[in-house]
């Protein structure tokens, strides 16, 4: 299972997730799609299609929205937020839009325009 429920003990404290206590060496990804989502978000940032700050801002927004719900959230899947943030940042930067100009082409145009070389 990839979901976890927030639970409370008799004193009203949030109970620590079992895996925190019992197994500090859990796999980094539980499903392969999480690994792909991670790699895709990092790759697009590393190749300057957007800044990591842009992606992280969307990730924070997505998690904030989830955490600010009135009721105690019943399930949690970190990489759902990751995928939501990825979709938004790809959309905002127009990566899939017709006529998108990638960083390499942009650099090339700059060099040409300003005769840097």
């Amino acid at each position: 299972m990839t979901t976890s429920e927030v639970q409370y003990d008799e004193s009203g404290k949030v109970r620590l997730h079992d895996s925190c206590v019992t197994d500090a060496n859990q796999p980094v990804f539980q499903e392969d799609w999480q690994r792909r989502a991670f790699g895709l978000a990092v790759a697009l940032s590393e190749f300057d299609h957007y800044s990591w700050d842009d992606f992280q801002g969307e990730l924070i927004r997505s998690i904030d929205t989830w955490e600010e719900k009135d009721e105690a959230p019943s399930s949690w899947e970190y990489y759902d937020h990751w995928v939501a943030a990825l979709e938004r940042v790809v959309d905002e930067h127009g990566l899939l839009a017709d006529g998108y100009v990638g960083p390499r082409e942009r650099d090339h145009d700059d060099d040409h325009d300003h005769d840097h070389h």
């Binding site: 620590l16 925190c20 980094v28 539980q30 790759a43 700050d53 009721e71 995928v83 990825l86």
Partner: protein, 212 residues
């Protein structure tokens, strides 16, 4: 619980399908190639591992000057070591070290988005991103540390560091006693990822493996 947070049974496959479709579209549009994501993942999984953090901590234990630089300017200190290329990328420029010592124990969390010093520690363990862990570690770090088996003296100060995009903290744990005769390499092997997050202490070699 209300239905507000009901977890659709197909959510898992929905996210998986979204990622697959997005990657395929980006390849089709020529934004990335079919090998781009694998290359990036391969680099992370082979080069950005806790082995880097272990080497950094061991050097700090044997070299006071390095330890001082690490505390003040972690990227500059890390650049002195023979670590994989690209350590400065992948958010490595935001890495900062906090040092455990007598009376001080540091714990690193990220309350917002699970920022993590990838180049030093690799990718975070899954529980690090659990909201329960994050919330409790922020609110009652001492209780959480006790449950995780980290014994702290009453007068030990616990400092909780909230990682963000601009400061990705890692902990330089205390060097265990009884390690005077060890080489830097042997010392590095004692250092665990958990100790560099602050949810464990480094055990002296005599007790390693005996707590199963």
């Amino acid at each position: 619980m209300t239905d507000q947070f009901a977890y659709p049974s197909d959510r898992e496959s929905a996210s998986a399908a979204k990622v697959q479709a997005l990657e395929a579209l980006l390849i089709e549009k020529g934004v990335i190639t079919s090998t781009t994501v694998d290359k990036v993942l391969g680099y992370f999984e082979s080069e950005m591992t806790p082995l880097n953090g272990q080497k950094i901590v061991a050097r700090a234990w044997v070299d006071e000057e390095f330890a001082a630089l690490l505390a003040n300017d972690a990227p500059a200190a890390i650049a002195q070591l023979d670590l994989p290329d690209g350590m400065a990328g992948a958010e490595g420029e935001h890495i900062a070290a906090v040092v455990n010592g007598p009376g001080v124990h540091n714990l690193v969390i990220c309350t917002l988005c699970s920022c993590f010093p990838w180049p030093v520690l690799g990718l975070p363990p899954y529980w690090y991103k659990d909201p329960v862990f994050r919330a409790r570690a922020a609110r009652e770090p001492r209780a959480v540390l006790t449950e995780l088996g980290v014994p702290l003296e009453e007068d030990t100060e616990v400092r909780v560091w909230d990682s963000s995009g601009h400061s990705r903290w890692f902990v330089v744990p205390s060097r265990p006693e009884g390690t005077d005769g060890l080489t830097e390499e042997q010392l590095a092997a004692l250092v665990t990822t958990e100790s560099m997050i602050g949810v464990a202490v480094v055990e002296p070699p005599a007790t390693v493996g005996s707590n199963a």
